[in-house]
């Protein structure tokens, strides 16, 4: 398990985080319990299994929902 912090463009509606959360929960390899989306700081924090999914796949899923990614970090 790796943990990632993804900085998004500024989120403006609380339902944005709902949408992103739903999209991330649908991904195989992402720890559903660990998903934490901060509306205020427009950040996504989550743990994922590197064997199953890459950070790039996760980022793409967010982009497909229409949100830009400013930068991301793996810890």
């Amino acid at each position: 398990m790796k943990s990632a912090i993804i900085q998004l463009e500024t989120l403006t509606c609380p339902s944005c985080s709902q949408k992103i959360e739903a999209a991330l929960k649908a991904l195989d390899g992402v720890d559903k319990e660990s998903i934490n989306i901060s509306f205020t700081s427009s950040k996504v924090k989550l743990n994922f299994d590197e064997g199953k999914i890459s950070l790039k796949d996760i980022e793409d899923a967010i982009r497909r929902m229409g949100y830009d990614i400013e930068k991301s970090k793996i810890k």
């Binding site: 403006t12 609380p14 339902s15 205020t40 700081s41």
Partner: protein, 622 residues
Amino acid sequence: MKGKVKMQRYILKNKNKIALVNGILIIIGFFSKLIFKDINVHALFLIVASILGVAPIAIQAYQSLKVKVVSIDVLVTVAVIGAFLIRNFEESAVVTFLFLFGAYLEQRTLNKTRSAIKNLIEMAPDTALKLMENGEFEEVDVDEVDVGDILLVKTGSKIPVDGTVVSGEGSVNESSITGESIPVSKEKGSKVYAGTILDNGTLQIAADKVGEDTTFAKIIELVEEAQDSKSKAERFIDRFSRYYTPIVLIIAIIVWIITRDIEVAITILVLGCPGALVIGVPVSNVAGIGNGARYGILLKGSEVVGDFSRVDTIVFDKTGTLTVGMPSVVEKEFYGDNIEEAISYLASVERESDHPLAKAVLEDIGKVEFYPVGNTEVIKGEGIVAKVNNKKIAVGNLALMEREKVIISEKAKSDIARLEEKGNSLVLAAIDGELKILMGVRDQIRNGVKEDLKRLRKLGVKNLIMLSGDNQGIVDIVGKELGLTQAYGNMLPEDKSKFIKKLIDEGHIVAFVGDGVNDSPSLALAHIGIAMGGGTDVAIETSDVVLMNSDFRKLPHALGLAKAIVRNMKQNIFIAVGVVIVLLLSLIFSEWMNMSIGMLIHEGSILAVILNGMRLLNYKLK
């Protein structure tokens, strides 16, 4: 697939431009109706405006439906399509414009509410001057700095990491960490913190903590978490809105089936949008907690804000919170003549001692002529007897004077009684058995504490209680002078937590003010633990409210702010719910309600709650 996604992203990116073009088309459309009286041209413009305007909304709706969320976008898209079907192009165009323009204004204003924390984040520099292997300093990205690296910080620049000064000196503005703008001087061995500014001088520092481990990064993270944390009420609203939007959709469909009136059905869709309710509470939270962060007050989340705003009892953990913590000479009396000489003798003898009282006395006397001291005899618990210039000097308390059979006049006796009553420790000095000097030494009340306590009372705190390890006599005096409700001395840490337990059992909402070092049980036990932390990790982590830099003066602001945030949230809920009720009632009972007016009022209410929340950014305690 790729192309489609790109197209969608392009449209979403240019949402604001679309809103602008959309608005212009609508205006041209209406003018063409007025001037050319041409209904067809008018309709054409509005149709184009509607299609253009609904595109980004429909894309967002599609995306959320894909992940099984019925968002506001879904409601609006269905409403616009409905209006289109009944050929009401005016409404479809105006609604898309209002929705897009509203979203634009919301984004602008929301960014403002987040500005407090954003300004704070920008205090952390992106680059650092790092000592390279060739012995020169080179500018590198701050991510490339590791623990142990030597960095150069020049005048006017920001310190990039937590570290220790290895050479140089200067003064640092630490307001980003402590909220205190008076510069702190730094020299070799001093600790410096990321995000603080070197006002003057040049420093070389060794990095101790980098990246997310710095105190500054931790504070930012705590503030962000606090702003995002949700109270019970908010979680309820969230859950509520998740079911609320689908329900609105179903109601609209039912109304349509029964009445066969699309106009009414789509108006319900627009009126039902829960925008202001969903955004109202978080906005107050974000702006309010942001305000606190700027003043060096960390409120950990909206739950804390709620509890804190209802506090009726504040317990202070020691005398030192309310007093300076350093004894000093507050009163002195002299007897007989040759006083200057007596002062010199007193200072000469006190110089031999490291007793706290002696330090206070020397501090008060300042620079005088010192004489050599001989035959020094320290009498434990009483004082010092010594020979200076062949005279017998006795410096100490009343017991020592009695032992030395010093004659004390009636006037001196009454002075002594008066000083003792005020809680002073006494320092007496006698030369050859004759009392010359009487000094009263005590720990003084901190500047402004009296006014601050008054402010707390005004904010509705009924009980101000001090629990101290000091003896009851001192505690009584401080308590009386400050007008505390209760003051108890000789308290051990476990006595304190028992006392707090008792207060809670009696039904009080209790805040405990401590330094987080040995009173963590009490901090945890109280409803609100307030740490007077000078930026220490323990204090920041164990408490609910942190006053950076141990600044007591921030306590009234913190409490006032918590109350203001709660008030603001209630106002926002009132606005949001009120607007929905008014809209629904006017749909039933009035003629003038339609989709466009509904959207206008709806967007207006969202802006109203955001603007109301923004007032918290400028909150100041009167």
